[in-house]
Amino acid sequence: MYTEMREAVVLGDAARARRLAEGVVSGGGDLLAAIEKGFAAGIRKVGDLWEEGEYFLPELVQGAEAMKAAMAVLQPALRERHAETSKGRVVIGTVQGDLHDIGKTLVATLLSAGGFEVEDLGSDVSVDRFLERAKENGADIIATSALLTTTMPVQKAIAEAIPKMGLSRPPRLLVGGAPTTSSWAKEIGAAWAENALRAVAVAEGLVGAGRRP
């Protein structure tokens, strides 16, 4: 069954992914295992195929769509069964001046699948908008994507603005995007994830230090 779920994502078959998810829910199956061993394993495979140069953006996005279709079924069911144990709140977006949406959307999907409450602000998001949404949301993490070398400095502007929000527990900053590096993140005082899958583990590490009561 997990193999089928994995395949539905790898082949970008959203209808099949949804059906399989519905099957797990109605059959009283293990929802988290379905996510981790099934659908998320599929999206990891899609990521591998992308890095190999076998898959390109259309396949990547279709895989993410299939994942999303499954999650749309599984998440409400998870909430019902477990009264929602959120790992933390994330506001995510691509920085101002940058229209690249795909990587960010994939990270948002995976974070959501990984148990975070995610607000996706879309692309071309201003520094102020990030801060405003994070404040209102009580976000643990602001996750920002920059795909252009010309828009990377906006991540620094966000890093500098966070301490000025006047919060006793300010959100942590997570940065990513093709031109970003660990040294860039270190310099601006942010956490960094080299790809969408790593982003989940890094986000878990960030909230693990001080989990929301």
Binding site: L57, Q62, D124
Partner: protein, 296 residues
């Protein structure tokens, strides 16, 4: 046949310019702002950038119209200024005294489903509008560039040819180097894509952006065997590095020039630079190119 078309026909080596956006950023254009906005607000700086390239040896410069299609202009708050920006930008490029002015047509920034919600009818309308305004401004040729989707490039090509039937059209795609070869992010492979563009009526085809000059040299070898039409190649100045909170492309002009001279010697007719290249790179390349163009 205009003189640029004549030059293409003779297969003369033509030295293009380098990056414009990164040059304007160095002059204070804020990160994230549209370079086109400076055509209106700081025309002197745009003109000076073009002049610097001409002084460095560029035969042709690109007008600052890369993002001046209606879809992209709307994002920069310039939606109703398509004509003003495009015509103004061509004029500034012409003022530089360059031998040739290329009207620059960049992508809409949208993607087709399933990746995005782009609409080919809207694209076509935007490219037609920009093409007509640009054609009226009197460039010597068009350069459709930094296209990551062959479909969008072909749509732009068709629209531009309809807008300006008598002007040559160059089309450059942006490729990534994968294990299996060169592909756009949408998965369009190098050789078939260049052939499709040539069959679609492009007067020259090629690649720009993302790749370094070393990778572009490999790409140029494959491209030269793939198509017979003239080629245009414009790499970045190496891979981006970051210093003091800003981003740089650090390849030295001499290293860039040496590799690009080799690219030209492969039979690539038009050479220049993309992100991070500046007049120093063009000047260094100028020194290494044959003085009177490549014999046929």
């Amino acid at each position: 046949m205009n003189s640029f078309a004549e030059r293409l026909r003779r297969r003369e080596t033509t030295l293009l310019d380098g990056g414009l956006g990164s040059l304007l950023i160095a002059r204070g254009l804020v990160a994230g702002a549209a370079p086109e906005s400076w055509v209106v607000s700081r025309p002197d700086d745009v003109r000076r950038a073009h002049r610097d390239y001409v002084a460095a040896g560029s035969d042709a410069v690109h007008a600052a119209t890369f993002g001046a299609n209606a879809i992209r202009l709307a994002r920069g708050g310039l939606a109703d200024r398509c004509e003003e920006v495009n015509a103004g930008a061509v004029r500034l490029a012409r003022d530089s005294g360059a031998l040739f002015v290329l009207a620059d047509v960049g992508p809409t920034g949208e993607y087709l489903p399933p990746v995005g919600t782009g609409d080919r009818k809207a694209w076509r309308k935007a490219f037609l509008e920009q093409g007509k305004v640009l054609a009226a401004a009197g460039p010597d040729a068009f350069h459709i560039e930094t296209m990551t989707d062959l479909t969008e490039a072909l749509d732009a090509l068709e629209a531009v040819k309809e807008s300006a039937p008598s002007l040559p059209v160059l089309v450059s795609l942006t490729f990534e180097r994968k294990k299996r070869g060169f592909f756009t992010i949408m998965g369009n492979p190098l050789a078939p894509s260049l052939r499709a563009l040539a069959e679609g009526g492009a007067d020259a085809v090629g690649a720009n952006c993302t790749l370094t000059s070393a990778d572009m040299r490999r790409l140029a070898e494959e491209a030269r065997t793939a198509v017979d039409v003239p080629l245009v190649i414009q790499p970045n100045a190496g891979a981006p590095v970051r210093r003091d909170g800003a981003v740089f492309y650090a390849q030295e002009p001499e290293a860039f020039a040496e590799e690009m001279a080799l690219v030209a010697s492969l039979g690539v007719e038009m050479v220049g630079g993309c992100c991070g290249t500046d007049p120093r790179h063009i000047r260094a390349l100028k020194r290494l190119l044959p003085p009177k163009g490549k014999p046929t």
